[in-house]
Subunit: 156 residues, 2 copies
C-alpha cells in the first residue's frame, strides 16, 4: 500500500457503506434470525433479546433499506411478518463468514452451536471462499487489491 | 425454525460472539486498512478518519484479542506497527463479503472503488462462497442449519 492513498476513502468504501446498512449488533442478530426462518416480531424479540422499541426501530430501518419486506399474514387483527428480500438474502455470505470465524475462535470447547447441511449434496459443510475464475481457495494473502472503476482520483 | 428454539441463544451464538470482537465501525475500518497492508498509527489515523484516542483504544483491544500484533519497527525513538495475526488474517472472508455486498448494492454508479486480483491465476475476481464437500455455490436457501455439538439443551 503506497502512503498517501487517494483512490478510496471511507466515502466510497464498500465496507463502510455496508456497515452503515447492517453494522449494528441488534441488526445483525435480527438478520441471523431471519436467515434461520424467523419472521414474526414476538419470536424475533424472544430470540434476539432486543428490547421491543429497539427491535421495532431496527426492523423499520431494515425495511426502509430494502433488506426486509413487511407482509401482512393476518387481517383481523392486522399482523405482519418480516421476510428477507433478494438484497437481504445476498447478505448471507457475511453472516456465514461471521459464524465460521466465531465457530473457530470463540465457540465453547464443546463445538459450534449450529452446523450447516448443504441440501444439494447432503453433507455437513464449512462454506469456503474461492476464486470465481480458477476455483482456488482465497485467503488474505492470495489477492491484490487494485483501484477499481469507482476509485477516487483525488482525496475527498 | 420451530418456535421455542432452545439450542442456541445469543449466549452461545458465533455471530454474537464475533460481533463482540470486531462489530464496531472503527474496528472494521482498521481491519480494512490492515488487510490493505497499512500498519502504522499515522497512516491508520489518516485513512480511517478515526480520532487518535478512538484509534488507540481500538488498536489496544485488537491486540488484546489476538487479532493484531504490536511490533517494534524503530528503537530510537521506540515506534510500533500493527500486523494481523493468524486469527486476524482469518477474518478476511468477513471483510471480503462486506465488500462484495457493498459493491453490488451501495457502490457509486461508476463501480466499485477496489477490484481484487487473484495472484495465483492473475484474473480480476469476485470471491464466491462454495460448499467444502461438493464445491457447489452456496446461497441462503441452499443450506439447512441444524443443532451442532455446542447446542444448548435448555434455554439459558
Amino acid at each position: 500500500m503506497e502512503p498517501g492513498r487517494t483512490w478510496f476513502t471511507n466515502e466510497n468504501c464498500s465496507v463502510a457503506r455496508t456497515l452503515e446498512v447492517i453494522g449494528e449488533r441488534w441488526t445483525l442478530l435480527v438478520l441471523r434470525e431471519a436467515f434461520l426462518g424467523v419472521r414474526r416480531f414476538e419470536e424475533l424479540h424472544r430470540n434476539t433479546g432486543a428490547a421491543r422499541n429497539i427491535l421495532a426501530a431496527r426492523l423499520r430501518k431494515l425495511v426502509e433499506r430494502g433488506i426486509l419486506e413487511r407482509r401482512p399474514y393476518e387481517e383481523h387483527p392486522p399482523r405482519f411478518e418480516y421476510r428477507l428480500t433478494g438484497r437481504g438474502l445476498d447478505l448471507y455470505p457475511i453472516l456465514v463468514s461471521l459464524v465460521r470465524w466465531g465457530d473457530k475462535y470463540v465457540a465453547d470447547p464443546s463445538g459450534p452451536p449450529i452446523v450447516l447441511e448443504h441440501k444439494a449434496c447432503g453433507h455437513d459443510i464449512l462454506p469456503q471462499l474461492v476464486c470465481s475464475e480458477c476455483g482456488g481457495e482465497i485467503a488474505a494473502r492470495d489477492v491484490i487489491a487494485k483501484p477499481g472503476p469507482g476509485a477516487l482520483r483525488k482525496p475527498a
